[in-house]
């Protein structure tokens, strides 16, 4: 095994060098530069970069190989022309800076969609990532100065995140600020969440991110619906959010799928709809499918949250998303032969974990759990996603009565409706609180903390199947995700499917 990786890295090394020199030649700036000198320059720039030399062009171009060095061969074969980046930078910058300023009115957003879509339309998905670093570093220098320092120096501790960053904004454009949070290491786990409106996606992810179930909703990493949102039947999470824990778990929160609230907003902003999609309703469905397909491509684990058991449409939806999922990019031709075994395995499919949120006392009965598992199993029996053996209620003594089914166990986890519990007791029973504390309430399920701990442990130890045929670092993953998102948005499969919707 080790010799394979050795040969792989060496071949990539050669490739990298070739590519780098080619691009530099094309840039025309320092075409005659020899390699050792350019490396020195790299260092110089990386040291001087954060000190605020944003508008100068030269360091940007020199810093580019620095990040690219770790991109591995996932971008190999991307012989994009060098004139493009310059064209690219401008519309991209506009969009993201506008979105980062959080002052996007619907009108300007609509205006921004058009140019960015146009520019992506004439370009292959392959070529894109080579240009992105250019832009990211520029942004890095100019806008997010706080993180730039740590991301530039290798040995500095990773940036500590306190709140998620946008991965996809409300007008469904990719945001690049997330890359600041990512490192150049390969040991990471991506967990995404998908579910209908108000089922508790953000809550579950916050618990994974380290929040305690007893904490108030306001202190959660991913903000659950506030009372105001609840009262207006709106959705809280817009677009896609990203959070990286200190354990290098990348958590991805998404806006609800098949949501009336999202649909309502689409109808409200009618002009934003692409003309080729007929009904807003179909557009909302396709959008949901795009989100799910995206998660299924870039996540190791996809957590499917429901708050009642069960909507058959959800399983249908998951299978459709799986059907429309973009194919895993084939390994490039110069990849070493050790990847042949992966090649035969074909497409990547994530581990899918079903979480039953707000489960009642009855739902925790072992027979009920078994019935749920059987149902999920039968509904998904022909799905390729790995919905078994990732997470189980029978571990950690959560359900002592349950028979342990050793091998083929549907990944199903139950959370009770705990966030309101303490509030209820404190709020109402003030008078008798002292007495009640002596007689603990019967819950019928394990304590929220025990459930949370077990769930976290189990999710974190899900086997990390490689997402692509090449090993990815966190940053590579980010580029891969960006490419996937664009691919999913412009997918022919999606277009074909949406045409069939009546």
């Amino acid at each position: 095994m080790s010799e394979h990786t050795g040969s792989q890295s060496s071949s990539h090394g050669g490739d990298r060098g070739r590519r780098r020199s080619r691009r530099r030649g094309g840039g025309g700036r320092e075409g005659r530069e020899t390699r050792p000198r350019s490396r020195e320059k790299d260092k110089d720039n990386s040291a001087s970069g954060p000190s605020g030399s944003g508008p100068i062009k030269a360091p940007i171009i020199l810093a580019k190989p620095h990040t690219e060095k770790n991109r591995d061969s996932s971008t190999s074969g991307s012989g994009s022309s060098d004139s493009k980046p310059i064209v690219l930078i401008k519309p991209r910058e506009d969009t993201s800076s506008a979105s980062s300023s959080q002052s996007t009115t619907s009108g300007t957003a609509a205006a921004q969609v058009a140019p960015s879509d146009g520019f992506h339309g004439d370009q292959s998905g392959r070529g894109q990532p080579t240009q992105q670093p250019t832009y990211q570093i520029q942004r890095n220098v100019s806008s997010v100065a706080a993180f730039s320092e740590s991301s530039q120096t290798r040995l500095a501790p990773p940036p500590e995140m306190t709140q998620p960053v946008k991965l996809v904004d409300d007008s469904l454009n990719w945001c690049d600020s997330g890359i600041e949070m990512l490192l150049d290491q390969t040991d990471f786990l991506v967990v995404g969440v998908v579910g209908m409106e108000g089922v508790g996606k953000s809550t579950i992810l916050s618990l994974l991110a380290g929040n305690h179930p007893e904490q108030s909703n306001r202190s959660f990493v991913f903000k659950p619906q506030t009372e105001e949102t609840l009262e207006t039947a709106g959705h809280q999470t817009v677009g896609v959010d990203l959070f990286v824990t200190s354990e290098r778990i990348i958590l991805i929160d998404t806006q609800p799928i098949l949501s009336a609230s999202v649909l309502d907003q689409l109808i409200h902003n009618d002009r934003k709809l692409p003309p080729e999609v007929g009904l807003a309703e179909n557009w909302a469905e396709v959008l949901s499918l795009q989100l799910a397909a995206f998660l299924m491509t870039v996540c190791h684990v996809v957590v499917v949250v429901q708050d009642w058991f069960t909507d058959i449409n959800l399983y249908r939806f998951l299978q459709t998303a799986e059907m429309l999922k973009p194919p895993t990019p084939a390994p490039s031709h110069d990849a070493p032969s050790s990847n042949v075994s992966l090649d035969t395995e074909g497409d990547y499919f994530p581990a899918v974990v079903f979480v039953q949120n707000r489960a009642t006392r009855e739902d925790f009965q072992p027979s009920r759990v078994q019935a749920m598992k059987t149902t999920v199993d039968r509904l998904l029996q022909h799905a390729s996603m790995r919905y078994k053996n990732s997470v189980s209620m029978s571990l950690n003594g959560l359900m002592p009565a349950q028979q342990k089914s050793p091998s083929r166990d549907v990944s199903l986890f139950l959370f009770p409706d705990f966030p309101h519990k303490p509030a209820k007791q404190n709020g109402k029973m003030d008078g008798v609180a002292s007495v009640l504390s002596l007689v603990p309430d019967y819950q019928g399920h394990p304590s929220p903390q025990a459930l949370t701990d077990s769930f976290r442990n189990q999710i974190f130890s899900v086997p990390r199947t490689p997402l692509t045929h090449h090993s990815l670092t966190e940053k590579n993953w980010f580029h891969y995700a960006a490419r996937t998102w664009e691919g999913v948005r412009k997918s022919n499969l999606m277009a074909e499917y949406s045409r069939l919707l009546t």
């Binding site: 039947a233 098949l258 009642w308 019935a371």
Partner: protein
């Protein structure tokens, strides 16, 4: 009507006499309930029961309890006579209990397409139920377990609407004789129903919580629920307007929503609560508060549901009905404002816009409604009463609800040609199944990458079929391999029957050409005696390989030579008709049957027993009669022995009966033993299709001999100084090697190398031992007889050479003197294959194969016996031999034993050793030649 009680839930359709129905003239309002639901206390029934304030509709449990049918969508109904409202409850796959029981009973091995169709059929049934409800109800209530509008209703209701419009003529037709008004008949329904939404659980924090928080911060006049309700209404209205489900004219719509009344209701915050939780919390509070807890006297069902946190003594199933107040914000109150409009006969006026058209409305009597309901139920929900047109409509509905299959179909059919062309890519004109399978796998890979979904499996089969067809359609290569491992180069063809000429051009009648196999490989091979070489075709069967070619060559060269024939199967003229004529060479003498054969095999009992059993069973009946016929034809030996056997077995059986009741098995064994002696005689009914070897059933002779033994003439033909003067020999390796046989009569004292004593029987034979003795003896030439031996190897290109040992090609000096002797040949196993010294183009040298053994026989008293035993492969390869016994060679001649060209065992061709195998894994066992001194007196 006798069986049905009016105050119970019944399942549609209504059975019974409408005339005897109580309350048949009541004017009724019909409320239909549909939607998704959980199990247990989350069933839709709970909500309906709350409206009724009684336990009427059964709750559904995960094990299927409470369901009227565990497989099919059904509608249950209840007539609340106190309020003149009929409640219809659609139970379908969207109810979790139904889903769970369907899943439990679902066959696990169904293919994807079938499973997908199964679920889509279930959903289609649900949609049919909805069409039915939208035709017979005044008010429809969509229930949902949580507080969100289910977006999927948009598509579903649009489909239902379009199907409704398509089916309208049929409905008008069916309703022509119904006892209802003209407008009802033309519209197919009594009114445009109102659609209401009830959410079983609020997503809002519980009221207590809100109170606690809002008490601190702000005091708004509306509860959060009151604020949420209109927001959801707005959402739903916008979505339905946008998708044109709702238009200005209510008459044209599938349903309406009231413009100025609420149509969304959110049930209490905690949703359905189960009885046990209630009891537990009561118990808990009782324990905590002791006697202070005041036991409430009585609560309504509705109240007990809603105020579950308050101290309750009675479980919720114990109901004390109270008259509900129709005006409050209870669920019934919400519903009542709509029901009231119906029962008052006003109808709904839900059109909006400037020129609203009046919408019709008819309030039916119970009886009338039931008769219409039954008619429509039969039309829409049963298979029996279905119109062909309804069937068509339902099919379109099914396909429009099943986008996945449509997508998958179009996707797969798009990719199919791609995959087919991947298969056809760079294919040769004709190819083997291996190539075919490789290409097919390639095509599958392409297909798998791009095609997904439920139709995948179907199209994979089609792809396979297409490719098979493409291949079979004249591109198939003949898969037959020659015995040397070469493919036949012809396209797929049939073999000509014996006597029929080959026909390479397929005539009109036959598609497949008819010709013999040909691998185009040819090799140069010498004839039996080795004097002539000729090209031979790559053989495809044993006979062609080992017999036919040489037989053909005989005519040109060696037919005049002296032959010693090996035993072959010979057909008796009295044989059963229909059996193939065994082509035996005419000059072959009839096989000599030697009685000692059977005696000899007696020494190996286990083997004999096996053969006995098998042959006894296979040839028992036929064998006897044929043996008899053989006896007539002169095989007296056999006849006698058979009679003898019969007598023996008879007597033996008699003895067994008399004395000690010998077991049957023993008797049979004894009998079989006797039969075995018969069978050991060469069979006249069975012949060996291939070659004779140690794994063959004993006693069966081959149809032809794969070996040949000819004499090139007297010894004087061979000049030791010239070597063999035959074509193809590599220079210098054509000299036979000398073998000196000591013949002096002096009694040997050297232990194991002793000659047989004259007094001993003639059957005691000693081979000439190896060792230094002959060389030592060579000093005294008088006491030796010199014979010449040569093991000749021949390669495919016709090069021939002799070997002097298992690892060495013999080489004579330029003058023609040979230093090597035959010692190694005689004393060691010799390889069957040896690399030819001829120059080869590739890295791998041609293999020469041992084809002939030359031997000069001396004058008496020394006699040479041949004992050829070949093992052409590593164990468990059988040994091959021309006949069981040694072959004594007549004296003073130059003999040639021609060996088989290919070796075919029971498991097929035994191929030459591969590169990795040692040469000596295929060998001629030592002791091929034996010299004995025949006592002159004998």
């Amino acid at each position: 009507m006798t069986g049905m009680k009016w105050n119970e839930v019944w399942r549609l359709p209504f059975v019974g006499d409408l005339e005897e129905l109580p309350f048949k003239d009541d004017k009724v309002c019909v409320v239909g309930m549909f939607g998704k639901s959980q199990v247990g206390y989350g069933t839709k029934s709970t909500t309906i029961n709350t409206i009724l304030d009684r336990e009427v509709f059964p709750l559904h449990w995960p094990d299927g309890a409470g369901l009227q049918s565990q497989e099919e969508t059904y509608v249950e109904a209840f007539y609340d006579k106190s309020k003149n409202v009929i409640y219809l409850h659609l139970v379908s796959v969207f109810d979790t209990s139904m889903l769970v029981s369907l899943c439990t009973n679902l066959d696990q091995d169904l293919p994807y397409a079938d499973v997908h169709k199964f679920w889509r059929d279930q959903e289609l049934q649900h949609a049919r139920g909805l069409i039915f409800l939208f035709h017979v109800c005044h008010i429809l209530v969509a229930l949902h377990p949580t507080c969100t509008f289910d977006m999927s209703y948009g598509q579903l209701l649009r489909t239902v609407d379009s199907v409704r419009l398509k089916m309208l003529p049929i409905l008008q037709d069916v309703l022509r004789d119904a006892p209802v008004g003209a407008e009802w008949k033309s519209a197919g329904r009594s009114c445009t129903p109102r659609l209401l939404f009830v959410f079983q659980k609020s997503c809002l924090p519980t009221e207590s919580e809100t109170r606690a928080e809002s008490g601190k911060s702000k005091g708004t006049k509306h509860s959060p629920k009151k604020r949420l309700q209109p927001r959801i209404e707005d959402q739903i209205y916008r979505i339905f307007r946008k998708s044109r489900l709702l238009t200005n004219q209510s008459k044209d719509c599938l349903f309406t929503v009231p413009p100025n009344q609420t149509f969304v209701y959110i049930q209490s915050g905690d949703g359905p609560v189960d009885a046990i939780t209630n009891l537990l919390s009561n118990l808990h509070q009782n324990c905590a508060m002791g006697k202070e807890a005041e036991a409430p006297a009585s609560r309504s069902y509705q109240m007990s549901r809603r105020t579950n946190q308050s101290a309750l003594m009675n479980p919720p199933s114990i109901l004390l009905p109270t008259k509900p107040n129709g005006a409050d914000d209870s669920l019934l109150g919400f519903l009542w404002q709509h029901i009231d409009l119906v029962l008052s006969g006003k109808g709904f006026d839900d059109s909006v816009g400037r020129n609203p058209q009046p919408s019709h409305f008819e309030l039916p009597s119970y009886k009338k409604w039931l008769s219409v309901c039954n008619t429509l139920y039969e039309l829409l929900l049963t298979e029996a009463g279905q119109h062909a047109k309804v069937q068509g409509c339902l099919e379109t509905m099914g396909s429009s609800l099943d986008v996945e299959t449509k997508f998958s179909d179009s996707r797969c059919s798009k990719v199919l040609p791609l995959a087919s062309s991947a298969y056809q890519n760079s294919l040769p004109s004709h190819y083997t199944s291996k190539v075919h399978n490789n290409q097919l796998a390639q095509a599958m890979k392409v297909f798998k990458q791009h095609a997904h979904g439920p139709a995948y499996e179907h199209y994979v089969l089609q792809l396979q079929e297409d490719c098979e067809k493409f291949w079979a359609n004249g591109r198939q290569l003949c898969e037959e391999r020659s015995l040397t491992g070469q493919h036949c180069v012809h396209p797929f063809h049939t073999l000509p029957k014996p006597g029929q000429p080959a026909d390479p051009e397929p005539s009109d009648s036959q598609v497949v050409p008819c010709m013999p196999h040909n691998s185009r490989a040819r090799s140069l091979c010498a004839c039996n005696c080795g004097r002539k070489q000729a090209q031979r075709d790559d053989p495809f069967d044993v006979k062609a390989a080992n017999h036919d070619f040489f037989h053909l060559m005989e005519e040109k060269c060696c037919s005049s030579l002296e032959h010693i024939s090996f035993p072959v199967f010979q057909r008796q003229p009295q044989g059963t008709p229909g059996e193939e004529v065994a082509p035996t060479p005419e000059e072959d003498p009839p096989p000599t049957f030697q009685p000692e054969v059977s005696i000899k095999t007696d020494t190996e009992p286990s083997k004999r027993k096996d053969s006995v059993l098998s042959s006894a069973t296979t040839t028992a009946s036929g064998g006897l009669s044929l043996a008899l016929s053989l006896g007539q034809s002169g095989g007296s030996d056999m006849f006698v022995s058979m009679l003898h056997a019969d007598q023996n077995s008879d007597s033996l059986a008699a003895v067994g009966m008399d004395s000690m009741m010998a077991a049957d098995s023993q008797q049979q064994e004894a009998e079989a033993e006797k039969t075995s002696q018969l069978v050991r005689q060469p069979s006249v009914t069975e012949s060996l299709p291939g070659m004779l070897h140690s794994d063959c059933p004993p006693g069966i002779l081959p149809k032809f001999s794969s070996w040949e033994l000819v004499s090139l003439g007297p010894v004087s033909q061979y000049y030791p100084s010239m070597g063999l003067e035959q074509p193809g020999f590599i220079h210098g390796s054509n000299f036979l090697l000398a073998w000196d046989i000591p013949i002096h009569t002096e009694r040997p004292q050297q232990g194991d190398q002793a000659w047989p004593a004259p007094g001993e029987s003639q059957s005691v034979r000693r081979s000439i031992p190896h060792g230094g003795k002959p060389r030592r003896g060579a000093k005294d030439s008088d006491s030796f007889v010199r014979v010449y031996v040569g093991y000749e190897y021949e390669c495919a290109r016709g090069h021939r050479f002799l070997c002097s040992g298992p690892d060495k090609v013999m080489k004579a000096s330029n003058s023609g003197s040979v230093k090597e002797t035959a010692m190694k040949l005689l004393s060691m196993d010799m390889p069957l294959y040896f690399p030819c010294p001829c120059p080869s183009r590739g890295a791998k040298p041609h293999l020469g194969q041992l084809m002939r053994v030359f031997i000069t026989t001396p004058d008496p008293p020394v006699q040479i016996h041949l004992h050829p035993r070949l093992q052409p492969g590593p164990p468990p390869c059988p040994t091959f031999y021309p006949q069981d016994e040694d072959i004594p060679l007549p004296p003073s001649r130059l003999w040639v034993l021609r060996l088989p060209f290919v070796y075919v065992g029971e498991a097929g061709v035994i191929s030459p050793p591969r590169d990795s195998q040692p040469l000596l894994s295929c060998k001629v066992l030592k002791g091929l030649l034996k010299a004995t001194i025949v006592e002159e007196g004998d």
